[in-house]
């Protein structure tokens, strides 16, 4: 990150924290429903000192990576299929959108039924939460490829399999990346949500403990950790890939 970008970011988040402290000092809401940044920091420090936070993050991230991996693989295949075979779009495609409108909470009974109280159940809920974003972005990206790229490739003898690898995926890549980015956010949300419901280690579990104990500052502390990791991954992983792709395509 360039120094001035970093400065902007730091400034922005500092501003938010100052505003937060300001609202807290104005005493509009009592502390039990609106804690000060300091209290939240304390909770964070505590979580760090007894390592429970790191353990939670580690557990959640591991589940996330597996779930997201499945979602990405499945979403890519499904999205390309839907874009290329109209029948698949008309059948499975419509189902995917339907499935996506079901909240994770409703998947939990099925996940428990199929996988029991295992990591697999959480991973299932995670993957289900993310797959749609990957699928639909891949689909849209592939559908909107300039037809002359496909024509040129076919003309030069590319068969469907080669076409997918050498044209469809690279041509739709700017959108596929966007799908991964969203898939990531939804998977992250999915894993936390599932942990919350399964109450089975991880950050979601810690969040649930905060909620059950009506400990708002712990809830906010965990939310900040979740967001922080989200922002970090976006900045470190996705932003870079995106910048690279955009530069290459002459869009920047």
């Amino acid at each position: 990150m360039k120094p001035n970008v970093l400065a902007k970011k730091i400034g922005f988040y500092a501003l938010i924290i100052i505003a937060w402290q300001g609202i807290d000092s104005a005493e509009i809401w009592p502390d039990n429903i609106f804690p000060s940044p300091f209290e939240v920091l304390e909770d964070l420090a505590y979580g760090i000192s007894d390592a429970s936070l790191f353990f939670g993050i580690g557990t959640s991230l591991l589940r996330l990576v597996i779930g997201l991996g499945i979602a990405i693989a499945g979403g890519l295949v499904l999205g390309i299929f839907m874009a290329r075979v109209e029948t698949v779009n008309q059948t499975i495609g419509s189902l995917v959108l339907g499935l996506q409108s079901i909240p994770s909470i409703a998947w939990v009974p099925l996940a428990i039924l199929w996988f029991g109280l295992t990591d697999s159940g959480i991973i299932f809920v995670t993957a289900i939460g993310a797959i749609f974003a990957v699928t639909i972005n891949t689909y849209t990206g592939v559908k909107n490829i300039n037809p002359s790229y496909i024509e040129a490739a076919r003309n030069m003898g590319a068969k469907e399999g080669q076409l997918i690898i050498t044209v469809l995926i690279p041509a739709a890549f700017p959108y596929i990346i966007s799908g991964f980015k969203q898939g990531w956010a939804f998977a992250w949300r999915g894993v936390i949500g599932a942990e919350l419901l399964f109450s089975f280690l991880g950050l979601g579990f810690l969040l649930n403990v905060g909620r059950q104990l009506n400990d708002v500052s712990q809830v906010i502390a965990i939310m900040i950790v979740i967001m922080g990791i989200g922002i970090l991954v976006d900045g470190v992983v996705f932003k870079r890939i995106e910048d690279k792709v955009m530069t290459r395509w002459g869009l920047r």
């Binding site: 790229y149 490739a153 076919r154 030069m156």
Partner: protein
């Protein structure tokens, strides 16, 4: 090898709710190793005809035969230079040129060797690792030509490949094209709006009528090679063709 027949090709397109007849029963026989040029007014149907031969457009009636076999799909036996480049923006110049070879499974070293030769011919060696957005229009056009030439197909379909080139570069490539053709004896169908170009390149020049396109006139060009654009002996052919073409515009 490269004997191409078009039998009574008709094609309609929908515009404003009405069917617009574009190809009006085109019949054409091209022998293996012929160099056929097509000229015609803007929008008359030249590209549509070429795309039909390439298998990218399905005719509403009629069929295309290659060496007697009816064609239905695209195939690396008929490679096209598209009028609007259609280069892949995610590949650099070299990878664009090597695309067809890669798809055909040619090993990397061999590919590099071939692409190097054609990039050189197109004076693009310096830009081998540039991406398409970094090229001028004429440079893109040259990449597209190189990408097709490396394939050495039975039939080469070229849709105004030199349109964005300055006269000097064009003259160089006109000579190169003739050399390539003489060496490989491939079948080439070449669309152009430049009559001088058509006369230099073709063994035969077809004049298409304005929409709907029919073959209005065929002119054989029986003259020694390599021909040059400023060869005065070619002027009569040009005049003849222009005379056929002129009334088409005001239609």
């Amino acid at each position: 090898m490269g004997k191409l027949e078009a039998k009574n090709i008709e094609k309609y397109f929908k515009h404003d709710g009405k069917q617009l007849k574009t190809l009006d029963g085109i019949n054409l026989n091209v022998n293996d190793g012929e160099f056929v040029c097509i000229v015609g007014t803007s929008g008359c149907g030249k590209s549509t005809f070429l795309r039909t031969i390439a298998g990218l457009e399905t005719p509403d009636s009629g069929k295309i035969l290659l060496d007697g076999q009816p064609l239905s799909d695209t195939g690396p036996d008929r490679i096209m230079v598209f009028q609007e480049g259609a280069l892949f923006p995610w590949l650099n110049v070299r990878d664009n040129v090597e695309y067809g070879l890669k798809v055909a499974g040619i090993p990397k070293e061999k590919r590099n060797e071939i692409s190097h030769r054609y990039l050189d011919m197109m004076q693009l060696t310096q830009f081998a690792t540039s991406y398409t957005y970094q090229l001028s229009t004429g440079m893109k056009q040259r990449v597209a030509i190189a990408r097709a030439l490396v394939m050495e197909p039975d039939v080469l379909l070229m849709d105004e490949p030199f349109a964005a080139l300055d006269p000097q570069t064009r003259d160089l490539l006109l000579v190169e094209m003739q050399l390539i053709w003489q060496k490989t004896k491939k079948t080439i169908i070449f669309v152009t709006h430049n009559v001088a170009e058509a006369v230099v390149l073709g063994t035969r020049v077809l004049v298409f009528s304005h929409r709907p396109a029919k073959i209005k006139k065929e002119v054989e060009i029986d003259y020694q090679r390599p021909r040059l654009t400023d060869d005065e002996n070619l002027l009569p052919y040009q005049k003849k063709i222009l005379a056929e073409l002129r009334p088409e515009v005001k239609k």
